[in-house]
Amino acid sequence: MNLHESPEDAAFRAEVRDFVAAQLPEDIRQKVLGFLRVPREDYVRWQRILATRGWGAPGWPAEHGGCGWNAVQRNIFDEECFTAGAPRQMPFGLAMIGPVLIKFGSDAQKARFLPRIVAMEDWWCQGYSEPGAGSDLASLKTRAERDGEHYVVNGQKTWTSFAQWANWMFALVRTSADAKPQRGISLLLIPMDTPGITVRPIRTLDGGHDVNEVFLDSVRVPVENRVGAENEGWAIAKYLLGHERTAIAGLGMCKRLLRRLKELARTQARHGRPLIEDPRFRDKLARIEIDVLAHEWALARLISLERAGLGLGAEPSMLKVRGSEIQGELGELLMECAGPYAVPLVEAALEFGYDGPTPAGAELNALAGQYLDLRKVAIYGGTNEIQRGLIGKSLIPL
């Protein structure tokens, strides 16, 4: 065992930290750390800054334009970027369709799409979920019928994050009805400006608009846009879902929220003194910081064991559960910092640069929305109930 960060890793951490501190545009940092709305162009701007540095694709092998980093480095990179207030690197290209193309794509597809993902010349969205189907891929209903050199796609996708900003969607579609449910699925790459595509926003509790329904009405997709063989999309989908399992720990987000919480606890007062000096609130801070530390060390241990080939069982599920619980609690505590001023919610003040009135400043105005939004972490990526089931079954031989 060596429980201290290696000098190489520590140096790498310092390098990332310095880079982010120097290169992350101040306005973006403020939006992200202040829980304000982050517009499309900010994600693109930051991704291009990273790409220019050669850090556009941390998880990819070097020969495809990636960094070739190991899991420890990727984790350090994520953590430093998150903590400093960088917007997340959109996963739809980098962590989803990118790795799929690297493994299953044709050479032409790789050449065409991979560089544009790294430079964020394309914005991808994911066409997986369908209404009523939850995480049950086998019940996929969207159909694609062959018509010469095209598929004609009909159906509906939902929970499609940032579809309103995307120019490409990768979508699972049913290309054969007679096979058993898992077979007969194919993966198509669909330009979002194809006629027949309609995007309908789904407003979330915090008033935000990240997710959408996408309706596909006789959408014609060239056959060359299919990834892998026809009817073999199931294996691709499974590969994609099994990818980057340690990222679901959300450690960077936990650390970002914790840092913010401690800042607010220093500026907000209760009974006339800073919250951080209130014994009750200080205990809560201590507890949650201890939780974050445990989460951090559990993740570090998992990454180390995985590198040593000791294999991942249900551990990623454990990290998912803990990460979401911690983020949920941090959301609560952030809101508690604001006290009565968590109640006001002036939507316009969620935009950067707003200079109209808010009862107690934009920073408190954003906290209730953030609390509500953070509830989603226990739902997406496989609900915590599903994760607990996986863990439990792995422990109990029946």
Partner: protein, 369 residues
């Protein structure tokens, strides 16, 4: 003790259910949410007697008690009604009927009963968080009245009130006063709140209030504000019970209809147990809302304060649990504005943060141990 509804109480409960059904079904409510509180609806509520409830019969009211208020609030909670109600129909009439001068009663109680005057409780201040006793608004004596300077924070429905119930430090104790919202020097900055309702920051800049608008004695104001807030806390606790009960029912409905892997998700044991815990949380909150109704009119000050804080703390804790779990059980759809679930969650969250959150009321209760 008898917890069953008598005939009048049952009628009142039925009235509330009908009102909500007719005016506040989900789509209708979405429209109301976009348009804000409606005068027509307020008139309708007045016709149903909802504003007369806490006005004594001698002043044209119904002279009902805390139990009837609880029934109404539970109904408003179930319907997620956004119309301003508590300060105008519970706090103001009770406060004036109990501590007001005869002149104040004659002047205000009739119009209150008819739903023609709106009040807001403006006792908390920007840096005071939930501490009523932290009053920096000053009242300086000037012939036959007072001159007020200061600010009040996050006043529920402060921007639609005709009268503000305000604390001010006279130098010889705090006074509780009625301030005309249109008086010179009153600035009201309204804004939306997370639950789709409204609140306001209120600035008092040399506002002149005459003696006739002081409630009780100057110097008695802190105790009166505390009393008035307790009436509000009991009402909010009952509203929370209505909201969380309805939300638990919606969640159970969802569990019985939504299918995954070919079976209703309510057949999964872990979700059954979750529903059980939600139901238990509602039961605990309801028990203490009833206790608050029993004691909020008590002349035993400690009993009243303990009851109000216990009920509000439990409403906050149970509401948080039920809101979070309902969202979780509803899955992604629970995170959206498109189902009622999230709207209940938001109102429960806002109730928790109003007039003292769970933590504040646990601490207040602890001081009375």
């Amino acid at each position: 003790m008898d917890f069953t509804l008598n005939e009048e109480q049952q009628m009142l409960a039925d009235t509330m259910a009908r009102f909500v059904q007719n005016e506040y079904e989900f789509e209708a409510r979405r429209k109301r949410l976009a348009e804000g509180p409606s005068d027509a609806l307020a008139r309708q509520m007045a016709e149903l007697g909802l504003f007369a409830l806490n006005v004594p019969e001698a002043h044209g009211g119904i002279g009902a008690g805390a139990v009837e208020t609880l029934i109404v609030m539970e109904g408003l909670g179930r319907g997620l009604v956004i119309e301003p109600y508590v300060a105008s129909a519970v706090i103001a009439p009770r406060l004036l009927a109990t501590f007001g001068s005869e002149a104040q009663k004659d002047r205000f109680l009739g119009p209150i009963a008819e739903g023609r005057l709106r009040f807001a409780l403006a006792a908390l201040e920007p840096h005071a968080r939930y501490d009523l006793e932290n009053v920096q608004t000053h009242a300086v004596r000037r012939d036959g009245g007072w001159r007020l300077d200061g600010a009040k924070a996050v006043v529920p429905h402060g921007d639609s009130a005709d009268w503000l119930i305000v604390t001010a430090d006279t130098g010889a104790g705090v006074a509780l006063m009625l301030v005309d919202a249109k008086a010179q020097g009153v600035a009201i900055d309204g804004y939306p709140t997370l639950d789709g309702q409204r609140a306001a920051e209120i600035h008092l800049d040399g506002v002149v209030v005459d003696d006739a608008c002081v409630i009780g004695e100057p110097g008695q104001g802190l105790e009166l504000a505390d009393w008035a807030t307790d009436q509000g806390l009991a009402a909010l606790a009952a509203e929370a019970v209505g909201a969380m009960a309805k939300l638990t029912e919606l969640s159970c409905e969802h569990l019985s209809t939504r299918k995954q892997f070919g079976v209703p998700i309510g057949s999964f044991q872990a979700l059954q147990h979750r529903a059980a815990d939600m139901r238990i949380a509602v039961e605990q909150a309801r028990a203490l809302a009833l206790m608050a109704a029993a004691h909020v009119e008590s002349t035993d000050r400690a009993l009243r304060r303990r009851a109000a804080s216990a009920a509000k703390a439990m409403a906050g804790r149970s509401g948080r649990y039920v809101g979070q779990q309902a969202t979780q059980l509803h899955g992604g759809m629970g995170m959206t504005e498109e189902l009622a679930c999230g709207h209940y969650f938001k109102r429960l969250t806002a109730i928790d943060m109003t007039w003292g959150n769970t933590e504040h009321h646990v601490e207040r209760y602890g001081e009375l141990l």
